[in-house]
């Protein structure tokens, strides 16, 4: 008897039988221990309209050890690594309990999209963006949802991304005017974007960072 397999099969069935929660779990390469979960971005958030996929690995001693999850879909969120999809959520770590299931854990990820915890960040740069300018953060998160998660193109996105191409300035959550300003000094555009992103050149911060400091960074 393999208790882990029995339990996982029950959980997969539980997701399939529950149409209301809109949580989907599919097998990757025919192993019940490597799965793909997916759900829709919650309404009323910058993730609305997007479809998000999560890589799920069931560890050997499941359910006594937490399931391993990370986002396959790129997400712009303080508790999710924008590079790797790694997730910072207590139930995936020390608050794990065997009463949690694939379904309940994926629902918790969906809730995490509704309520970021910038004080316990996975992606420090994104968290700083969130804390500095909420509206600019949401615009960027919405743009990522559109580019990576099939979210709707919203009217008023400042750079009006054309289909198939992404606007690097919008991806980084920056103002086109700021990037243009430093590019005009003769610096490479991608370098300018990288530096301004790292310096969190957004919102009220712009007034606090003088141009010399930006140039200094650009010259490094």
């Amino acid at each position: 008897m393999d208790a882990r397999l029995r339990r996982v099969n029950k959980e997969i069935l539980d997701c399939k039988n529950d149409r209301a929660s809109n949580i989907q779990v599919d097998l990757i390469d025919n192993s019940p221990f490597h799965l793909k979960g997916s759900f829709n971005g919650p309404e009323g958030t910058p993730y609305e309209g997007g479809h998000f996929e999560v890589d799920i690995v069931i560890p050997d001693s499941y359910p006594f050890q937490p399931v391993k999850m990370k986002f396959i879909t790129k997400v712009y969120h303080p508790n999710i690594s924008s590079a790797s999809g790694a997730i910072c959520l207590d139930i995936l770590k020390d608050a794990w309990s065997p009463v949690l299931t694939l379904k309940s854990t994926l629902i918790s990820l969906q809730s995490l999209l509704c309520s970021p915890e910038p004080n316990d960040p996975q992606d420090a740069e994104v968290a700083k963006h969130y804390m500095t300018s909420r509206s600019s953060f949401e615009e960027t998160a919405r743009y990522w949802t559109m580019i990576y998660a099939g979210g709707p193109g919203k009217e008023g996105l400042k750079s009006g991304a054309k289909s198939g191409s992404k606007d690097e300035v919008a991806m980084a959550g920056l103002e086109k005017a700021h990037v243009d300003q430093f590019e005009a000094l003769g610096f490479d555009r991608s370098k300018v974007i990288d530096v301004l992103r790292r310096m969190n050149y957004r919102g009220a911060n712009v007034a606090k960072i003088n141009d010399d400091r930006v140039v200094e960074e650009l010259l490094k």
């Binding site: 690995v57 050890q65 937490p66 020390d94 960040p121």
Partner: protein, 354 residues
């Protein structure tokens, strides 16, 4: 921790019986940019517990492993957590049993002979009162639940009338799945745990197909099999949680965050400090569980304190919930850890034929 050739130096406050949190400390001290350290950073114990529960090595799939030289400070907390876990996994001695064979109190005494004389006198006091042996458990945060579960089943097995006591235990236990469902636990998360616990008790009087009746050896082996042992621990955790959730007015005044001391909501307390793997039990959990199981439990507090007049004895905290008079199960508490006390100083654990 039962290996007499390698006695650990115990107890120290918060002793986790050999968990080596060295790397955890290093990682904990890493600056997380200018953000607060994440909440999980304070719980290397939980990380260790999760690893212990795991029993075997986890093979990370591609993409989870860092292959290039990388600055630790550039990694997110989730990555650091996984690395930390892997390191703890590597350094925990694999031979530390979940439940050790019974050992004479002299073994415990020997560990204090060059240290705290009050502890030595308290141990002598216990031996005088007839507690000749101690059965140690792994210090993984589950020790209260595991100790109680083991002692509970063992006492039924050794009782004068096992048939009657198995019947009583089963009839109490049979009411509990409904209790768990009523507080919202899905059946699929607890039905296997319930079956394992119930079948173990049934096996005292009724051999399972292909197995003998429960013997001392079989009980010992079951509790050292991580899957079965942790299933039983988990069932008791859920039972404890259900008992608290069903009577919030009774327990609410006693629900405090164990680290910061703030009052907590019932559900938040249960999710974080009862249902979560590896979280230690305190008075509230002990009260709830002994009520749910309807057992008497005495806990001997080996705390190194002498009375003002210099007299040395051991305080017992008593939980009396059995419907009829019966001798209590006795546990030994040392700061941060529970073991089982016994009036025997050794046992025979020879393999018996099926």
């Amino acid at each position: 921790m039962s290996d007499p050739n390698n006695p650990p130096s115990e107890p120290v406050p918060g002793d986790l019986s050999g968990e080596p949190p060295k790397l955890a400390k290093t990682l904990k001290d890493l600056p997380e940019d200018d953000t607060e350290p994440p909440a999980w950073a304070t719980t290397d114990q939980a990380a260790a517990a999760a690893e212990i529960a795991q029993g075997g090595a986890f093979e990370p799939p591609p993409g989870w492993t860092i292959t290039e030289p990388t600055e630790l400070s550039t990694l997110g907390p989730s990555t650091l957590f996984n690395m930390n876990e892997a390191t703890i996994e590597d350094t925990i001695p694999k031979d530390r049993p979940l439940i050790a064979p019974l050992a004479p109190m002299a073994v415990l005494r020997a560990e204090y002979e060059n240290g705290n004389t009050i502890f030595v006198k308290q141990i002598d006091w216990l031996v005088d009162k007839g507690y000749k042996g101690v059965r140690r458990t792994r210090g993984d945060g589950d020790c209260f639940y595991r100790s109680l579960a083991f002692a509970y089943v063992e006492r039924i097995m050794h009782s004068d009338d096992p048939e009657l006591n198995v019947m009583r235990a089963i009839s109490t236990l049979e009411t509990t799945p409904a209790m768990l469902s009523s507080v919202g636990f899905q059946e699929l998360v607890f039905e296997d745990f319930f079956d394992i616990f119930k079948n173990l008790i049934m096996r005292i009087v009724q051999p399972e197909p292909g197995k003998s009746r429960l013997t001392a050896r079989a009980l010992f082996d079951t509790f050292n099999n991580p899957e079965e042992s942790n299933s039983i621990v988990m069932y008791l955790r859920l039972l404890t949680s259900a008992q608290i959730r069903l009577d919030p007015e009774e327990y609410a005044p006693f629900l405090f965050h164990p680290e910061i001391g703030e009052p907590m909501e019932t559900v938040t307390f249960c999710e974080n400090f009862v249902e979560a793997v590896g979280k230690e039990a305190d008075h509230v959990q002990m009260t709830a569980l002994t009520r749910a199981l309807r057992v008497n439990v005495n806990v001997a507090y080996l705390d190194g304190h002498a009375h003002k007049d210099g007299e040395i004895d051991v305080d017992f905290v008593q939980f009396e919930n059995a419907p009829e008079p019966e001798d209590p199960i006795t546990l030994l508490y040392r700061p941060g850890h529970y073991d089982i006390l016994d009036n025997r100083d050794q046992e025979s654990l020879t393999l018996e034929p099926l």
